[in-house]
């Protein structure tokens, strides 16, 4: 009660002191009315002012009152120097905004616990080993029979939960003509219960919905999907939809907060694991295994209990692998089971962007440091301008703390305004950055809440930068010596030294930002200009699914019909387009020998596919209409190099472990082209005829394939409606899943690199701008400090060259020192961002010289005004003023 009235009194200071005065007046009037001598009465009271102060001290919170007056005073100072304050607040706002954006994204993707019960008890299993490229690789995929064994083994210590990768699937609600897409996850029936998720409508899956394979066609929708697709209509419950051949019934909607376990993807539909056909296949790994520890159990204990089961399962499985090279099998068996905390969920996006986001986080921190250094210099310059005022305050009895508080209050005002501005910036920019991670067909959707976590971060950041840029100048200002300051002689030398150190730091950070930006942009440049081996322009892929699986003959027939459409030059078929994320691998042996170690890629294509993609045929021939698989194959150059030492492979044969072993005669050799990634070396590829027959000589069916069309003219996407119509008409049983230009598939390979290059370039400009402003400010300040000295030099005839040198040499020394430090930092930073750069060497001269050059030019520009100012000093006027 009392503390609040004292707080409140601070903010109604006028009223409070008026009341005190009034009470004293009433007292004196009363006394005079009783016949006392007015003079005596007044004397009895002593100094009214002191009386009032004494009472005010009681009725106010003293420190709050002084803080209030400091804030008001600080605000007046800022207001009086509008331009300077605006620049300070803007630059800090930019820096804080960038930091907050980075934090929001890093937090949402990597740190924030899932909205489930006791997320800290959630772990996930991974297998750690060597990937096909010979590099360490960690995967999370598990086979269901293995999962079953493991679940039983640790029943008493932990609950195991299977959750499949969120996959974009085609589904239909009414007629098969209208396919939609949705992210589908197969989950253990017990998941919702174990996670403590409650239904928003109907009921959720339970263990009883997940008992026997194929027997539970029920589905739970996510709240987000329910709202988007059905507008939160309660009648959505009971709706039926089809995925592949199965019809599911919606039985409920999950609570709003739960969006799945993959940050970056919001799951639309949850199905029981038993509805995935992988549950019965011993070598199909298709889901992640989550572990929810029971009280008292430790993660390592679980891992130790599961490892033997995992190893035994792998060995058993490996026995069934025919035609595998020995070292490959060895690699597979050396996989280790590891268990990692999964409180924040597990997603591919996390893996792909973890290092990139941390790198961005470091960049924005550097920007923040540069902005803080600027502000520290600004505060320092102001403090020196206010040295007399400070000295006066000390002389009339202000304590050291009071002076520190005075300067810090002003800093806090700047920091707070910057934080508010930054908050607005982050509000807008974080979703914008996330929306730039937009692979075609599956843009990232990240839940970016602005809650107490984010607010807390902002507040902490504001407090941190206040201390960072405010404390030094505040302490310095409080150390003022009244006698010397009031006399007019200050010792600005140490102050200038401090400013110069800050400038050097700024330049060093700026160099680092420029350097890393250079690496990122060069990486993006290399990757996006890398030859793919095919001509993507003008190629449209129409990815279709057969429901039920359709004979390859139907696809061929539809392809023939599409050929007659306007603008269509070539129509071909492929099992999937290159760089679309799909891959079929196998091992190959030649001359009846052991299989080679390289993982060979396979792709089934129709005749004229090479023509449509403009992949040159180097030897032999293209497929013909009469070719069928197994029997003939076309290989690429890398394949010929690996298996035939670069000799022409046409006419030779090989065996592969695909399709339970088959033998192929090579009829053609084509130029290398990109198959499933842009970064690694070219992979050996085998092309098989799209038309394939099974062991009984029957044509096979296919679940899906892509029509590959080369079209003429610009804007190939204008053909999309016509293509959809035509395929639906000509191919009953074929569903168009997705139509995508090949160029888009190529571009999606560099989304991360483009994002990094773009953001880093933006930060580089900001860093350069801030450092430039900083240098300009400090040079100007030193000029102000040294006017007298320079004036005298001019008066006694120093040449302009000498004056300019004196006015700017310190600044350049600082830039040089900073650049050298930055160079060292830059070289040290390289190994942390190694995984983000591609075919760019840090030791190349270009990424080192370029930042140095840019910095030098910026420094030159920033020092021009100081140099001009120095030469223009009029010694007569200056000396008269002194």
């Amino acid at each position: 009660m009392s503390i609040w009235s004292r707080v409140a009194n601070v903010f109604r200071l006028d009223r409070t002191s008026r009341e005190i005065d009034e009470e004293f007046a009433a007292h004196m009037q009363e006394a005079i009315d009783e016949g006392r001598d007015p003079e005596e009465v007044r004397k009895a009271f002593g100094s009214l002012l002191r009386q009032r102060e004494a009472s005010l001290d009681i009725r106010l919170l003293g420190w709050l009152d002084s803080l209030r007056s400091d804030v008001v005073f600080g605000w007046r100072l800022l207001w009086n120097a509008k331009a300077t304050s605006a620049v300070a607040i803007l630059s800090l706002g930019l820096a804080i905004g960038s930091s907050m954006s980075a934090f929001r994204i890093i937090d949402a993707l990597l740190l924030r616990p899932l909205p489930i019960r006791e997320p800290e008890r959630l772990y996930a299993l991974f297998r750690k080993g060597i990937g096909p490229d010979g590099r360490p690789r960690t995967t999370a995929s598990t086979e269901y029979p293995l999962y079953r064994q493991m679940r039983a083994a640790v029943e008493n210590q932990a609950d195991l939960i299977a959750i499949s990768y969120a996959a974009r699937r085609d589904l239909t609600y009414s007629s098969d003509e209208e396919t939609e897409k949705a992210y589908v996850q197969y989950v253990s029936g017990s998941m919702f219960d174990k996670f403590g998720v409650r239904p928003a409508l109907g009921r959720l899956l339970t263990g009883n919905d997940d008992l026997s394979p194929g027997a539970h066609p029920v589905a739970v929708l996510s709240y987000d999907y329910w709202a988007r697709r059905f507008g939160c209509d309660p009648n959505a419950n009971g709706r039926r939809f089809r995925i592949a051949a199965v019809e599911y019934e919606v039985i409920g909607v999950a609570g709003r907060a739960f969006t799945g376990t993959e940050p970056g993807t919001i799951t639309d539909i949850f199905l029981p694991t038993m509805m995935n056909e992988g549950v019965t296949q011993p070598n199909s790994s298709w889901f992640r295994t989550f572990v929810r520890l029971k009280p008292g159990a430790s993660a390592n204990q679980i891992r130790d209990a599961l490892s033997p089961i995992f190893q035994a399962y792998q060995e058993e499985l490996a026995k069934g692998f025919k035609g595998w090279p020995k070292d490959r099998l060895q690699q597979l068996l050396s996989n280790q089971l590891v268990i990692e905390p999964a409180a924040a969920g597990v997603s591919g996006l996390q893996e792909e962007y973890r290092v990139a986001l941390v790198a961005l986080g470091v960049l924005v921190t550097l920007i923040l440091m540069i902005a803080c250094a600027n502000l520290a210099n600004l505060m320092m310059a102001q403090a020196s301008a206010r040295a007399r005022e400070m000295a006066l305050r000390v002389a009339i009895g202000a304590g050291r703390w009071r002076l520190i508080q005075l300067v810090l209050a002003e800093s806090a005002l700047i920091a707070l305004s910057g934080a508010v501005l930054g908050g607005a910036l982050a509000w807008w920019s974080a979703p914008l950055v996330v929306s730039m991670i937009n692979p075609p067909d599956h843009p990232v959707r990240l839940v970016l809440p602005a809650d107490l976590r984010v607010l807390g971060f902002a507040a902490a950041l504001a407090a941190f930068v206040t201390i960072l840029f405010g404390l030094g100048p505040a302490v310095r200002a409080s150390a003022v010596k009244p006698a010397s300051a009031l006399k007019g002689g200050t010792g600005p030398r140490s102050r200038r030294r401090m400013m110069h150190v800050l400038i050097a730091a700024q330049v060093a950070f700026c160099f680092l930002v420029l350097f890393d930006t250079g690496l990122f942009t060069a990486t993006f440049d290399r990757l996006s200009n890398k030859p793919t081996g095919f001509a993507a322009d003008g190629v449209i892929n129409v990815i279709t699914g057969g429901r039920p699986p359709q004979s390859v003959l139907l696809w061929q027939q539809v392809a023939r019909q599409l050929r007659s459409l306007p603008r269509v030059e070539t129509v071909a078929l492929a099992s999937f387009p290159p760089l679309s994320g799909s891959m079929e691998g196998g091992f190959v042996a030649v001359n009846g020998g052991q299989p080679g170690g390289a993982l060979v890629r396979f792709l089934s294509v129709s005749p004229s596919w090479f023509g449509a993609m403009k992949i040159p045929i180097l030897g032999g021939r293209d497929f013909e209409e009469s070719d069928a698989s197994p029997g003939v194959a076309i290989v690429n150059q890398t394949f010929a190099n690996v298996y035939f030492n670069g000799e022409s492979p046409v006419g030779r044969s090989f065996e592969t472990n695909r399709d339970h072993g088959m033998r192929c005669r090579i009829v053609g050799l084509v130029l290398d082209s990109r198959y499933d990634d842009m970064r690694g070396p070219m992979a050996p590829v085998v092309y098989l005829p799209f038309r394939s027959v099974d062991a009984n000589g029957q044509f096979r069916t296919a679940r899906g394939a892509a029509f590959v069309l080369r079209v003429s003219g610009s804007n190939p996407l204008a053909l999309v409606p016509m293509l959809r119509r035509e395929i639906t008409r000509a191919g009953p049983g074929l569903l168009v899943s997705r139509i995508v230009p090949q160029t888009e598939l190529v571009e999606q390979q560099t989304i991360r690199e483009r994002l990094l290059a773009m953001l880093a370039s933006f930060f580089a400009v900001v860093a350069l701008l801030l450092a430039g402003i900083g240098l300009y400010g400090v040079l100007n300040y030193s000029l102000l400090q040294r006017r007298r000295e320079l004036g005298i030099r001019i008066a006694i005839g120093a040449p302009a060259r000498d004056i300019v040198r004196r006015a700017t040499v310190d600044g350049f020394a600082m830039v040089l020192a900073g650049a050298v430090t930055g160079l060292v930092l830059a070289l040290l930073s390289v190994r942390y961002i190694e995984s983000l750069v591609y075919e760019v060497k840090a030791t190349d001269p270009a990424p080192l010289i370029l930042p140095a050059l840019i910095l030098f030019i910026a420094a030159l520009l920033a020092s021009v005004p100081a140099a001009i100012g120095a030469v223009r000093i009029d010694p007569v006027e200056m000396l008269r003023a002194e």
Partner: protein, 109 residues
């Protein structure tokens, strides 16, 4: 003649006691009440009375209210709160304990 200083920590007690007997007094009335009830021996000076009043008000022992008196003048009247009554009990018993202890010392010496 003892001065205000000799009130030495008993000022709070006196003010609370007077307000417990006669609620709603203004500062001047409290001052004169101390003077007259002590037989002109004790005197609270303005310089210590008002800080004491304001301190006790912030502590919540007394509360104040502006009123217009019959003479048409505005005055700030004080009265005891429940917390103040408790405080009075406390201070009274403490005072008794101290004075009896001092008396005992005086008798024995």
């Amino acid at each position: 003649m003892p001065k205000a200083d000799s009130l030495q920590g008993s000022l709070d007690l006196l003010v609370l006691k007077i307000l417990s007997r006669r609620p709603r007094l203004h500062g001047y009335a409290i001052m004169t009440a101390i003077q007259s009830m002590s037989g002109e021996v004790l005197r609270a000076e303005e310089g210590s009375l008002y800080p004491a009043l304001h301190r006790m008000e912030e502590a919540g022992w007394i509360r104040a209210e502006w009123v217009t008196t019959e003479t048409g003048r505005r005055a700030r009247l004080y009265e005891l709160t429940r917390a103040g009554a408790k405080q009075l009990d406390l201070e009274e018993s403490r005072w008794r304990a101290v004075t009896s202890a001092v008396n005992r010392v005086l008798r024995m010496a």
